[in-house]
């Protein structure tokens, strides 16, 4: 059974690219467009990993990580945050909120896959 990954980003293009890269590596991918959307979907289905962007309307990435870590079902689920080069503070905020690791965008699909496999093989 393949692992399920949820990708959260308010940009359609990003969502599509992440899904494409991960599907190619054999993962099942579920998409959400912001933190609230993600929480709503996650309340109905379980995933094995969450990848989330930081800047999103309604509930941003940091908020989503924090909320997920409060949920017993997701306390030990790997969560990766997508940041841009210039967002070092966000990276730390993400870690403080409980994120497992991070990915820099724009991302190389191979790098995305390898990082994902690092935390969720």
């Amino acid at each position: 059974m393949s692992k399920r990954i949820m990708a959260v980003d308010d940009s359609t293009t990003m969502r599509d690219m992440v899904r494409f890269a991960l599907r190619g590596a054999g993962y099942e991918v579920v998409l959400a467009e912001d933190g609230m959307d993600a929480l709503a979907l996650l309340s109905k289905e379980r995933v094995d990993l969450v990848i989330t962007d930081i800047n999103m309307p309604n509930l941003d990435g940091i908020g989503l990580v924090a909320k997920l870590r409060q949920d017993p079902a997701y306390r030990t689920t790997p969560i990766l945050i997508l940041t841009t080069e210039s967002e070092a503070t966000k990276r730390q905020q993400g870690k403080d909120a409980g994120a497992t690791g991070w990915l820099v965008k724009p991302f190389d699909p191979r790098k995305l896959v390898s990082v994902v496999q690092k935390v969720c093989p």
Binding site: D10, S11, T12, T13, M14, D16, M17, F20, A21, G35, M36, D37, A40, N55, M56, P57, N58, L59, D60, I62, G63, L64, V65, A66, K67, R69, Q70, R75, T76, T77, P78, I79, T84, E85, S86, E87, T89, K95, D96, A97, G98, A99, T100, G101, W102, V104, K105, P106, F107, D108, P109, K111, K118, V119, P121
Partner: protein
């Protein structure tokens, strides 16, 4: 990245949406409106554009959007002030961004000349707001992040001491996975240290008790080994050192991680516990946040169109069935009849639902207008205030696309010709600031869009003179006020003294009318000299289905839109008066109304010539008001599926579209306005049939 090539379309579409939204939001910014979500949304938009641009390596776009993003970040964090000139800068930057996107869409390299200047200006503002600090973002790398900071050292053995802290588990990292990763770099020898492991009864399942010593033989550079631990550096004790080929007692430390300088000391570095109540940075909307989030999916427009088509065909087939079985005796086949009635009901519901998919609020069209008004008022030196109403009114997607240009044209026209200069307005006793009201509403089966201004209205003397000069009307023609006003829709009509590039070319309004009529709608102008004028656009709500009245003319079946029909009578001969010109009028409750023979207008030779032996259907036309159409028979009302002729035929005056009736016959749907257009006017039904040079009796020359 070739594998991402397929997402360019999505990206471009997304950019277009984001840029539109940005324009609306920026234009709506006010100095003290920082407490709404707009700045954040604008920031996110630029952020998304930048991210995508990076993926496709559109370097110019990346660089500029980075500067833009920086400025917006400063603004949304209250570090950079928001004032009129800054808002104007945002607008300029947005436009440049749009230009850059256009450049990559069309594949040309042209760089707008003020690009560097604007980018530098934005960067300078940010820098000034953070004196003494480096700007909040380093210039973005346009490649991916790689960590090969060493040259290949050749194969050697590294000793890795690794002791995870409990924080490592809290962050959902898994030592086993790290070990597997290490293994990929080369042969690995593992020794585990169980000394801290307590009795089972005393064990805290979330505490980390184990530690390891690894010996990794690898050629990989140190950077790659460190990378294995990149996510956990703060959550563990880690040291990596070289093991000389011949084991000795003192390994020379090559590099130590973590990078805060802690060397071999075993003092655990505690990471502050992630606070359970970590404050998510919610946009400052607070209680306004939509809790009930409307979810949606993106669907290819082609698929929706195909669906609409198929449902249309379904309706036609169902209609045919209904027709065939209408002869069936109800008592002999009660179930079939009932079944068909239900089918008809469901089919209509299906039709409504499918059409609703394509409906969108006109908001997206209205959104561009404030900017337009702002720009034009500057250009024309006039003060204009725009009021919009009814932007949530929904209309078919095709209509939205087609209506944008006409509305823009009409606004331009209003601002150029209708609205007076502030000085003139003051002299006329009006407020120096003019108002344009753009509104949309549903009325009957139509959507009515109106553009109303409080300007000078149509100057009838000028219009009449211009029309006579261009030969559009005879010098002694007598037209009603309303007819004069609507002359402005004729081709080649322009009352501008000099051709201004705003709307003076004279091609505007007749093209506007054509485009609107092509959608099955109509447009006319209502004007009061000195008070103002209003363009009234009427469009059908659904483009696919309509209530139609089937009529017969000269043995052929046609369909009249039910919403144009006012009443139908069988006239009495004495009510009909034939004028010396040959045209006829009919008296209806004291009023005399024109009679139009549909057969003649359509160029048919037969048809009932004597109205008193046929029927007269009174319809409402935009230009001639109430008019009576002479037809042979009226056959019944039904819902018809509108099929466009556009793909097969050119615009046929008098015919709006076509449908297939229940009996399988094709019936043209009549365009009442085109049918009744004053004879000789371009676009009237007589165009098809009347030889040129003939004058008609309304004094209008061809």
């Amino acid at each position: 990245m070739d594998e991402f090539e397929q997402f360019k379309e999505t990206y471009f579409a997304e950019c277009a949406e984001l840029l539109d939204d940005m324009e609306t939001r920026i234009t709506g910014l006010r100095k003290d409106s920082l407490n709404d979500d707009s700045l954040h949304a604008i920031f996110r938009a630029v952020h998304s554009i930048k991210a995508g641009a990076g993926a496709f390596k559109f370097d110019n776009l990346v660089a500029f959007s980075h500067d833009f993003e920086g400025l917006l970040d400063g603004m949304r964090n209250d570090v950079v002030a928001v004032d009129e000139s800054r808002i104007a800068l945002l607008l300029t930057a947005r436009d440049l961004l749009a230009d850059l996107v256009d450049a990559v869409v069309s594949g040309h390299d042209a760089v707008p000349e003020n690009l560097a200047a604007v980018g530098a200006e934005m960067a300078a503002i940010v820098k000034a707001a953070h004196p003494g600090e480096t700007p909040t973002g380093e210039a973005p790398a346009t490649g991916d992040e790689t960590k090969d900071n060493d040259t290949a050292p050749g194969e050697r053995t590294l000793r890795i001491d690794f002791a995870p802290l409990r924080e490592l588990f809290i962050h959902a990292n898994e030592p086993l996975l790290l070990v597997r990763e290490l293994k990929e770099l080369g042969p690995l020898k593992t020794t585990v240290n169980l000394s801290r492991l307590p009795d089972l009864s005393q064990m805290d399942p979330e505490e980390a008790y184990l530690s390891w010593v690894f010996e990794l033989t690898t050629e990989a550079p140190l950077g790659l080994v460190e990378e294995v631990f990149e996510f956990v550096t703060d959550d563990c004790q880690l040291s990596i050192s070289d093991v000389p080929v011949r084991p000795t007692q003192e390994p020379a430390a090559v590099a130590c991680v973590p990078s805060d300088g802690a060397t071999e000391s075993r003092v655990p570095r505690r990471q502050p516990e992630p606070s359970a109540g970590a404050q998510p940075s919610l946009p400052s909307n607070g209680p306004g946040l939509a809790q009930a989030k409307v979810s949606s999916i993106r669907v290819d427009l082609d698929r929706v169109d195909r669906l609409v088509d198929m449902v249309g065909e379904l309706l036609i087939t169902q209609s045919m069935l209904a027709q065939q079985t209408s002869e069936l005796a109800v008592d002999r086949y009660p179930d079939i009849v009932r079944g068909l009635e239900e089918l008809s009901f469901h089919a209509r519901e299906l039709q409504d639902s499918v059409m609703a998919i394509r409906m969108q609020p006109v908001r997206s069209v209205f959104a561009r207008i404030p900017r337009l008004v702002r720009d034009l008022s500057k250009k024309l030196d006039k003060k204009v205030r725009l009021v919009t109403e009814g932007e949530e009114t929904e209309v078919d997607k095709t209509v939205i696309e087609e209506i944008a240009d006409p509305i823009t044209h009409m606004i331009r026209n209003a601002m150029d010709h209708g609205i007076e200069s502030p000085g003139e307005r003051r002299r006329a006793g009006k407020t120096p600031e003019a108002t344009i009201r753009l509104s949309a509403e549903h009325r009957g089966g139509c959507i009515i869009i109106s553009i109303a201004d409080d300007g000078r209205g149509v100057v009838r003397e000028i219009v009449t003179r211009k029309a006579v000069d261009s030969g559009l009307i005879g010098p002694d023609a007598s037209l009603s006020d309303e007819e004069i006003d609507n002359l402005i829709f004729r081709p080649g009509f322009s009352t501008a003294g000099t051709v201004t590039d705003v709307s003076g070319r004279g091609v505007g309004l007749d093209v506007v009318r054509r485009n609107i009529e092509r959608l099955g709608g109509s447009v006319h102008i209502q004007s009061e000299p000195g008070i103002g004028a209003a363009f009234i656009v009427s469009l059908p709500l659904t483009l696919a289905v309509m209530d139609g009245m089937v009529i017969a003319v000269d043995g052929e079946h046609y369909v009249l839109p039910v919403n144009t029909i006012l009443e139908t009578i069988r006239p009495v001969e004495s009510d009909i008066v034939t004028l010396p010109s040959g045209d006829a009028v009919i008296s209806l409750r004291g009023n005399h109304l024109s009679l139009i023979h549909v057969a003649r207008m359509l160029g048919l030779n037969g048809g009932e010539a004597d109205p008193s032996k046929g029927l007269v259907v009174f319809v409402d036309t935009r230009e001639r008001g109430k008019v009576g159409l002479v037809i042979d028979e009226m056959l019944g009302q039904q819902q018809v599926v509108i099929k466009s002729l556009q793909t097969n035929f050119k615009n046929i005056p008098g015919i709006a579209a076509v449908t297939i009736l229940g009996n399988g016959r094709v019936a043209p749907i009549l365009d009442v306005d085109g049918l009744c257009r004053p004879a000789g006017a371009p676009g009237d039904a007589n165009d098809l049939h009347r030889p040129t040079g003939q004058t008609s009796n309304m004094g209008i020359a061809t």
